[in-house]
C-alpha cells in the first residue's frame, strides 16, 4: 500500500497542486500594482492598406476596446481603450475579448495606454506541463535535473546582481568564475564527489579554455574581420566584446559537460568490466564514443544560437538589405559563437579520454 502511495498518489498530488497554482495565476491581479483590464467588447475598424518604401503591403486596423478594471483604486470600473494592429504584428497585436492587458491610467481613471498582454498564466501553464511530464516519466532523476537547473538559475541571478553592484568592472572575472562554479556544482549534483566527477570537471575546464584560447588567437590573427559586435542585442553597461565572450563561455559549458560526462562515465564502466584494460585502449574507446556525440551536440548549440535571429533577419531582408548584410548584422555573432563552442566540444573528447585513461591506469600501477 505505501509503495502504491509513493508511486502514484504523490506524483498525482504534486501535479494537482501545480495545476491549482496555474489556475491561481488567473486570479492574481491583486498582486500587481499596474492596473489590469479584462477586455469585454471589441469593435474593429476597417483594415487600411499600407505600402512602405520597399513596396511591402500590409494592413492596419484600429480597434476600440471596452474592458473592466480588475485591480487598484478603480477596480470594477469600465474603461475604453484604443489599439492599432497590423497583419504582420511585428510590434503590435490584435486584442480579443477575454484577454487581460496592463494599462497606464490617467489621474481621472481613464486609460492612457496599453502596456502589454498579461502573460503569466501562459508561462505558469507551460512550466507546470514541463515539470509534470518530467515527474511522470523521469521520476527522481527528473527532479534532480530540475534541481540542478534551478540552482544554476539562482547562481546566474546572483552573479548578475553582484556584477551590477560592482558596476561591471570585474565583468569577465565574475562570469569566468561563475562558469567554474556552475561546472563544479552541476557535475557534483550529477556524479557526487567522486574521482569520476573530478575527471569530468577537469576535461570540461581544459577543453573549454583551450578552445577559447585557440579561437582568440585565430580572431587576433584575422583582426576580427567580419565580426560585428555593434550588432549585439540588449547591450547596457557591459561593452559588447566582453559580453560576447561571456555569453559564448556560458553557452558552450553545458554541452561540453554533457559530452565529457558521457565519455568519462563509459570509460569508468569499461574499466570496471575489464580491470586490465590498457590506457591506450581506453583513450581510443573515449575517442570512439566522443566522435559520434560531438556532431549532434555542435548542431544543438548552433540551432539554439542562430534560430533566434530568424525574425530580425526577415525584417532586414524585407527592408531591402542584401543577404550578406543581413547575415553580418544578425547571424555573424551567433555563427562565431557556434564555431568557438564547436571547437570546445571537439577538444573535450581527447581531454576527457586522456584524463580518464591517465588517472585510471595510474591507480592500477599502484
Amino acid at each position: 500500500m505505501t509503495k502504491q502511495v509513493r508511486r502514484w498518489v504523490l506524483p498525482a498530488g504534486i501535479i494537482l497542486i501545480g495545476f491549482l497554482l496555474v489556475i491561481g495565476t488567473h486570479f492574481d491581479q491583486a498582486l500587481y500594482k499596474t492596473p489590469i483590464v479584462r477586455i469585454t467588447k471589441v469593435a474593429n475598424g476597417k483594415p487600411i492598406k499600407q505600402v512602405d518604401q520597399f513596396k511591402n503591403v500590409d494592413h492596419q486596423t484600429n480597434q476600440v476596446l471596452e474592458g473592466k478594471l480588475l485591480n487598484g483604486r478603480y477596480q470594477g470600473k469600465y474603461v475604453k481603450l484604443h489599439n492599432t494592429y497590423t497583419t504582420s504584428g511585428a510590434y503590435d497585436q490584435q486584442y480579443k475579448v477575454g484577454q487581460e492587458v496592463f494599462v497606464t491610467l490617467q489621474k481621472n481613471g481613464t486609460v492612457n495606454l496599453i502596456q502589454g498582454l498579461k502573460r503569466d498564466v501562459t508561462l505558469a501553464f507551460l512550466v507546470w506541463l514541463a515539470v509534470s511530464l518530467l515527474f511522470v516519466i523521469m521520476r527522481s532523476s527528473g527532479m534532480l535535473a530540475l534541481l540542478s537547473v534551478c540552482l544554476n538559475m539562482v547562481l546566474f541571478f546572483l552573479a548578475i546582481t553582484l556584477n551590477l553592484m560592482l558596476h561591471s568592472s570585474y565583468f569577465l572575472l565574475i562570469f569566468a568564475s561563475l562558469a567554474v562554479i556552475f561546472a563544479a556544482l552541476t557535475l557534483w549534483l550529477v556524479l557526487g564527489p567522486t574521482r569520476q566527477m573530478l575527471v569530468t570537471f577537469g576535461a570540461t575546464l581544459v577543453g573549454t579554455s583551450v578552445a577559447l584560447l585557440l579561437s582568440l588567437i585565430v580572431m587576433q590573427l584575422t583582426g576580427e574581420k567580419g565580426i560585428y559586435y555593434e550588432s549585439m542585442q540588449y547591450v547596457t553597461q557591459v561593452a559588447p566584446r566582453p559580453l560576447f565572450f561571456a555569453e559564448t563561455l556560458l553557452g558552450s559549458l553545458g554541452a561540453v559537460m554533457d559530452e565529457s560526462t558521457d565519455i568519462v562515465a563509459t570509460l569508468f564502466q569499461l574499466r570496471e568490466e575489464q580491470p586490465d584494460i590498457s590506457g591506450k585502449t581506453l583513450f581510443n574507446s573515449g575517442r570512439q564514443i566522443g566522435r559520434s556525440i560531438m556532431g549532434p551536440l555542435v548542431n544543438v548549440l548552433f540551432l539554439i544560437f542562430v534560430a533566434d535571429t530568424f525574425p530580425m533577419a526577415i525584417l532586414f531582408l524585407k527592408n531591402g538589405n542584401t543577404w550578406g548584410y543581413t547575415f553580418s548584422m544578425n547571424m555573424s555573432l551567433g555563427v562565431t559563437q557556434s564555431l568557438i563552442s564547436g571547437v570546445g566540444i571537439v577538444l573535450a573528447v581527447p581531454m576527457a579520454s586522456f584524463l580518464a585513461s591517465l588517472l585510471m591506469t595510474r591507480r592500477k600501477a599502484k
Binding site: 504582420s88 510590434y91 498582454l117 516519466i137 553545458g254 554541452a255 560526462t261 540551432l303 555563427v335 564555431l339
Partner: protein
Amino acid sequence: MSTIPALGLLLLVVMVLVGGKQGALSFLSLLLNFIFLFAAIVLVSLHFSPMVVTLIFGVVILAVTIFLGNDDEVTTQTAFFASILVMLVLLALILPVEHWASVQGFGMEDSDDLEGMSLLIGIKFMQVSIVTAVFSTLGAIAEAAMAISAGLAEIVQQQPKIATKQLFYDGITVGKQIIGTTFNTLFFGFFGGFLGLFIWYVDLHYSLGQFLNNKIFDAEILMVLFSLISVILTVPMTTWVMTRRIHRVRKNKRAD
C-alpha cells in the same frame, strides 16, 4: 581571411583530427544546417508559407543532424522517425501556446535595433515565431533521440531476445541517465545567450511582474520550455519506435 571562415577552418581541422571521417561528416552537417536555416529565412521572406517551410526544413535539418552524426543504421533510422514524431507533437503544442502568449515579433527592448526600419512588411510574425521556436529545439530533439536509440540498439544487440516490455523499461532508464546532462546543455545554451538581456532587466530595475509578463523574456523562456518538453517526450517516443521496430523484425522472422 575573415574571422568566420578562419574559425570554420579551425573547427574543421580539430574535427578531422579527433574524429577522422566522422569528424568531417559532423562539420558537413553543421554547414548544411546553416545553409538550410538561411534558405528557410529567405523563403519565408519571399512569402512562402512559414508552416510549410517549418515542416519541410524541420525534417531536412533532423535528417542532416541524425544521418551525418552516426553511421549505425538501426540507431539513425529509429532516431529519425522518433524525432519527426516528436516534432509534430511539439508543433501541436507550440501553435496554441504561441497564439495564447502572443510573443511574436519584437518588444520594447528591441526599439533601438528597429529604428529606421519599416515594420509593415506583410509577413505574419506570429508564424515566424512558431518557425523560430520549432527550429531552436530541433537539435535537442535529434541529439536526445540518437542517445536513446544508440543505447537501446546496444541493449538489443547484447540481448537479442529481450521482451518488448523490458525494452521499454530500459529506454526510460537510458533516458534517466541522459536527462540531467541534456537539461544542462539546454540550460547553458539558452541562458548563456540571455546574459545581456538579463543584465538589462536587472540594471533597469524591472519588477517581478514586469519581468514575468515581458514579451521578450516570455518568448525566450517559452523556447527553453518547449525544448525541455520535447527532450522529455523524445525518451518514450524513441523507445516506442524502437519496440515497434523490434516487433516488426521478429514478426517477419517468424513468417519466414
